[in-house]
């Protein structure tokens, strides 16, 4: 098993009520597996929200395999400016 730190922003933070959380996953889990877990925890509040994934502060593909201690963020549509 491995643990990853999930950073929560904007709609994800609003849906989960947390700014970050520690999640335990099976070795070999992908970002897409973690996204499914996050969406389940959000109980439907993220159903209409598209999310991009960043690992260790870089945008990556959802098929990217996670490693122990990774920092993961599911990025809702951004709104800078």
């Amino acid at each position: 098993m491995m643990k990853v730190n999930v950073k929560c922003f904007s709609q994800v933070q609003y849906a989960l009520g947390q700014t970050e959380l520690l999640v335990e996953l099976e070795n070999g889990s992908k970002a897409s597996d973690l996204e499914k877990l996050i969406r389940i925890r959000a109980k439907g509040k993220l159903d209409d929200v598209s999310l991009r994934v960043a690992i260790n502060k870089n945008y990556v593909n959802e098929d990217t395999e996670l490693k122990d201690s990774d920092e993961v963020a599911f990025i809702p549509p951004v709104q800078g400016g």
């Binding site: 922003f9 609003y14 800078g80 400016g81």
Partner: protein
């Protein structure tokens, strides 16, 4: 030269002077906080960033802008934290030889910023409640 900063204090404008001899165009963009959100009046927006990643992305977009368009200098300050209605959240200055490439570069840079830089807005409503902004402009 590229200068990119994410700051918490009120935006100070970049120094503009008459020293430039090769650039015929100087574009200044200031984005300000509007007073309406979801059709309701607000008192401020709170800008939240993914610390570390936001500045990296902003710098990368500035570099791509300077490669895509014939411009040498792009300066950008993005404020985060609570910004009251009417205050500046984004300040960008681009210098270019001619106006066309400067205008195109400014438009492209801001569009890319709004697609990729992990910064979000929370609306502070009149009753002080804080809700994720729905603004996508």
């Amino acid at each position: 030269m590229i200068k990119v900063e994410i700051i918490r204090d009120p935006v100070k404008l970049f120094t503009i002077n008459d020293d430039r001899k090769e650039d015929g165009a100087e574009l200044v963009f200031n984005g300000r906080v509007r007073n309406m959100e979801r059709g309701k009046e607000i008192i401020a927006l709170e800008y939240e960033q993914y610390e570390g990643m936001a500045e990296l992305e902003l710098k990368e977009i500035a570099q791509r802008t300077c490669k895509k368009f014939p411009i040498k200098d792009l300066f950008c300050r993005h404020r985060i934290g609570i910004i009251n209605v009417g205050e500046i959240s984004l300040h960008v200055v681009i210098w270019s030889k001619h106006r066309r490439e400067g205008l195109e570069a400014m438009n492209w840079f801001i569009s890319e910023l709004k697609k990729h830089v992990p910064i979000w807005k929370w609306a502070i409503m009149i009753d002080n409640t804080r809700v994720p902004s729905e603004c996508k402009h």
